[in-house]
């Protein structure tokens, strides 16, 4: 793994929200991980675990409470000139969950897709602009006749394709996909996932894929991070995580997935996670430790020894 180039480095990122009455919600509470160039990192967890907030903070939609996000070695949240900021935003794009809410209903598809092209001045003439739009539409499996239509004329899957075309318009290096297929039908989900994988191959994109559908995440991701209450509890290569989950929360999460196979379902036993089962002593330091090569678990020193022994 060492020879892989880090595209994004996230260091002890914290995102707190002040909800009034002196209460603070620690949506993301100190997560550290890297995303390598060209890979897909899946981020899973239950609603409210901070996976979407992590994505939004990485791209700079929120100003981080603490910690750092480095994109190609440059801090996303540090002060920089308007020009630098614009360039950074071009390189990072986002695909949203709700294909109905994330497209402006009063803009034509051409204008939606070309908005980024206009802002960043990527097309010199009108013809060039439209040519780009047509190309993008074809890349995502729509056709050029769609350019002058409005979002309401499209189905959910088609809208998600428009969202992808919009993200690709500015030729990003890194795309955050926040539950991009959750709102789609099963038969359409596979279409969009195949499209995303093809684009990754062709354009060398790096993805952060946030989702709660664990089987789809396993399919698309190279590595997967599991979040629980604002913390990342486990991070490993996709197959490794499913084969050898270590953290008890990961185990409970995996055991809760229903398999599309009646025989497995008749015998599947669910394990239930209880945070108190760790029996941490007071003042015990929880750290994100590497139990096996590339397999990280949030654990105490004592657990670390135990996991390590279990592993070898």
């Amino acid at each position: 793994m060492a020879e892989k180039q880090k595209l994004i480095e996230i260091k002890n990122l914290k995102q707190y929200f002040n909800v009034g009455n002196g209460q603070v919600i620690k949506a993301v509470d100190g997560v550290t991980f890297d995303i390598y160039k060209g890979e897909t990192l899946g981020l899973v967890g239950e609603s409210g675990c901070g996976k979407s907030t992590t994505g939004r903070t990485i791209i700079g939609l929120y100003q981080a409470t603490a910690g750092e996000v480095l994109f190609n070695g440059v801090s996303v949240h540090a002060k920089k000139s308007a020009k630098e900021l614009k360039e950074l935003k071009r390189k990072m794009q986002m695909i949203f969950q709700d294909p109905y809410a994330s497209l402006n209903p009063r803009m034509t598809v051409a204008d939606i897709i070309a908005e980024g092209i206009d802002i960043h001045g990527l097309a010199k003439t009108k013809e060039e602009r439209m040519k780009r739009v047509y190309e993008l539409l074809e890349t995502v499996g729509l056709n050029r006749e769609h350019a002058n239509r409005y979002p309401h004329e499209f189905s959910g899957g088609q809208r998600q394709r428009i969202g992808i075309a919009r993200a690709l318009a500015v030729e990003p290096e890194f795309v955050i996909a926040d539950e991009p297929i959750s709102a789609l039908d099963v038969s359409i989900q596979a279409q969009v996932v195949n499209l995303m994988k093809r684009l990754q191959r062709e354009k060398g994109l790096t993805y952060l894929f946030i989702a709660h559908d664990l089987s789809m995440v396993k399919y698309i991701s190279d590595r997967i991070g599991v979040m629980y209450f604002g913390k990342m509890v486990e991070l490993a290569e996709a197959e490794e995580l499913y084969r050898n989950p270590i953290h008890p929360y990961t185990k409970s999460l995996l055991s809760a997935i229903p398999h599309p196979d009646p025989e497995i379902e008749r015998t599947r036993r669910r394990t239930i996670y209880d945070p108190s089962q760790h029996n941490y002593k007071e003042g015990e330091q929880l750290e994100f430790r590497e139990v096996a090569l590339g397999h990280f678990v949030l654990c105490s020193e004592e657990e670390y020894k135990k996991y390590k022994a279990m592993y070898s």
């Binding site: 239950e46 609603s47 189905s155 959910g156 899957g157 088609q158 039908d185 099963v186 038969s187 359409i188 989900q189 596979a190 279409q191 996932v193 195949n194 994988k197 709660h212 664990l214 089987s215 789809m216 396993k218 399919y219 197959e239 499913y242 409970s252 999460l253 809760a256 997935i257 229903p258 398999h259 599309p260 196979d261 009646p262 497995i264 379902e265 599947r268 669910r270 996670y273």
Partner: protein
């Protein structure tokens, strides 16, 4: 086995500005006492309209039951007046909806919403109803029910609200429970709890369940039998083993193949079903799935396939089962599932319309 519900040749349409949408186009199935029937299909396949028609919840107009019978406990629900339906709804048939936030009344305490069912249908007095409401909340696994009974829906989390919905639906011990995507909005761990709860309650009370979902994992977990719907019709129906281990309809193949498997590390391209479902204002001639079907033959575009019977319990509507049809290989992902089922007939039999 005793049939609790029998739907015969149901047709439901909606009048819209764009014309008549034929949402359900001749659906027939039955539900036995104490069993779970899963209805699978994508949005627009008519699965929700079918269930809402059983409850007579579709607004008329624009909706209209054009044809068919819904025999529930020996009586035809299609012929019932609204007043008579009020007696059945919530009492004999309970319903759980997908979105618990919009289906509970936000201005009413949760306990009150459960008690309403009890005082109305079971003629309980208030204090007895309250006690039963607390009991029901405990039954569905809500901690501190004495306190929770006096809270409003917004004070509940998503999973808790869904449990409260189940408590409302179960309050009158319905014979049939219709669950329309009850866990789609929930996290997997909460989903697992809700599914276990429903199975548990079914065992205790002998309720029949119609479970509508598009998640085949949930189907494998919950269902005794499965009906696959496409474009307002049932294209395949059978026991859960028949659907998962011996599927016959290309659409069922498509659904099964388009899901990544958790057990394999296969990174090959998913077998997506190309295109999108047809517009039901103008249903296509022949088999509605034909334009998206890689196995489609000429006849699929001309003539609608009849139902073929593969075993006593297994039906599929595809020309591929006809003796003259060429033998085709299902997609790779489906082939891995196939098993020889001993209950199959030597040859699929065409079912006559009257059956």
């Amino acid at each position: 086995m005793e049939k609790l519900l029998e739907v015969k040749n149901l047709e439901v349409s909606f009048q819209t500005y764009g014309g008549e949408v034929q949402a359900v186009r001749g659906v027939s199935f039955h539900v036995n006492k104490g069993e779970t029937l899963a209805i699978v299909g994508e949005s627009g396949s008519g699965k929700s309209v079918t269930s809402q028609t059983i409850m007579r919840l579709i607004p008329t107009p624009p909706g209209k039951i054009k044809n068919g019978q819904i025999i529930f406990d020996g009586e035809d629900l299609v012929k019932k007046t609204d007043k008579e339906m009020e007696q059945i709804r919530g009492k004999d048939i309970g319903m759980i909806f997908q979105d618990p936030m919009t289906s509970l009344n936000p201005t009413m305490k949760v306990g009150k919403q459960i008690m309403e069912v009890l005082t109305k249908h079971q003629k309980m007095d208030k204090s007895a109803a309250k006690e039963r409401a607390i009991e029901l909340l405990r039954l569905v696994g809500i901690p501190m029910p004495e306190k929770r009974v006096n809270q409003y829906p917004h004070e509940f989390s998503g999973g808790m609200r869904q449990r409260a919905m189940i408590a409302v639906a179960l309050a009158s011990n319905p014979k049939l429970l219709i669950a329309d995507e009850p866990t789609t909005a929930l996290d997997v761990t909460i989903q697992a709890q809700i599914l276990e709860l429903m199975k548990d309650l079914q065992k205790k009370m002998g309720t029949s369940i119609i479970f509508i979902t598009h998640d085949l994992g949930v189907v494998a977990n919950m269902a005794d039998r499965v009906a696959v719907m496409y474009a307002g019709k049932i294209v395949e129906m059978g026991t859960v083993d028949e659907i998962f281990y011996d599927p016959r309809h290309p659409y069922t193949w498509g659904l099964l193949a388009s899901m990544p498997s958790l057990d394999s590390d296969d990174k090959k391209e998913l077998a997506a079903i190309p295109g999108s479902p047809p517009d039901l204002t103008n249903p296509p001639k022949g088999d509605a799935f034909a334009p998206r079907n890689p196995y489609a033959m000429k006849i699929d575009f001309e003539l609608e396939p009849p139902m073929f019977k593969i075993s006593d319990t297994h039906y599929a509507a595809t020309w591929l089962l006809h003796p003259d049809a060429p033998k085709v290989e299902p997609p790779e992902a489906v082939k891995k599932r196939l098993r020889k089922l001993s209950s199959n007939y030597p040859q699929p039999i065409i079912v006559k319309e009257s059956e």
